[in-house]
């Protein structure tokens, strides 16, 4: 698939309620499609031998977050049009029943999902729409990290 490739990653402390580490959404003015083809999930620091579930869900608004500047795989490409955010203080507006990927993880492991060609998660060409990655845990408060790479 032709297009420019961009990676972004974000982290967040686990809490007992579901909280978002990274959102990747269309910007508020320019609608364009995006194809998420690679994601990774893991915990930072010294996580205990615990398990949790990481979700990637569709959202229609990115919420309030610390901005992340997406990198460029090819330095000759323009800056990403999609916007990324981490460490959310206000959760993205998630669409009901649109959990795109559900990964049960051990906090001490690292997980990576790679899409097959044509099987990428598609961000619709609608402003502020996109995906958010989140998790929760009953007791752990360690930092967890989610990374996404996409084509636009």
């Amino acid at each position: 698939m032709a297009g420019a490739r961009y990676p972004a990653n974000g982290d967040q402390n686990l809490t007992t309620t579901r909280i978002t580490a990274l959102s990747v959404t269309d910007n508020a003015t320019t609608a364009h499609r995006g194809w998420v083809y690679d994601m990774y999930f893991g915990n930072e620091g010294t996580p205990a031998d615990l398990a949790g579930t990481y979700l990637v869900e569709r959202c229609t608004a990115p919420g309030t977050a610390t901005a992340v500047t997406p990198g460029k795989v090819d330095e000759q490409d323009r800056a990403a049009q999609a916007v990324a955010g981490e460490n959310h203080t206000v959760e993205p507006t998630y669409t009901a029943n649109e959990i795109m990927l559900e990964v049960p993880v051990n906090h001490r492991g690292t997980y990576r999902w790679i899409a097959p060609p044509g099987g990428e998660l598609v961000i619709p060409a609608t402003t502020t729409d996109g995906f958010g990655g989140n998790s929760l845990h009953a007791s752990a408060t360690t930092l967890f990290r989610i990374g996404m790479a996409w084509i636009e």
Binding site: A31, T95, A96, R108, G109, R112, P116, P117, T126
Partner: protein
Amino acid sequence: MNYIKERSKGKGVLLFSPHDSDKDQGQHTITCCHCNHVFIIQPGSGKERGWCFMCGASTCGDRRCSPALNGCAPFEKKLEAYERRTALPLEGAWDIAKGGIWVRTMREVKLRA
């Protein structure tokens, strides 16, 4: 198994790097051609998935995605309907993608306008 090589056969890969081993483990994933959801293939799980002969690809097994129950509704059509704002939210695009329930969907759009 060479999971990366398998990607050319339409399967995604979920790789797991355990902290207590130097060997990666992997599972195949498939992206539903009707709803774009990704599911992990678990042989022996008893979960029923589907196949759309129109798309020539797997479906996730959700009733909404069943070609037998709802016909072929490719994700691309669903996405286009959503982007045209003829269906809100994204789930509503099913009616348009299926074709034939336009009236109900358009009425909903007018009500929302």
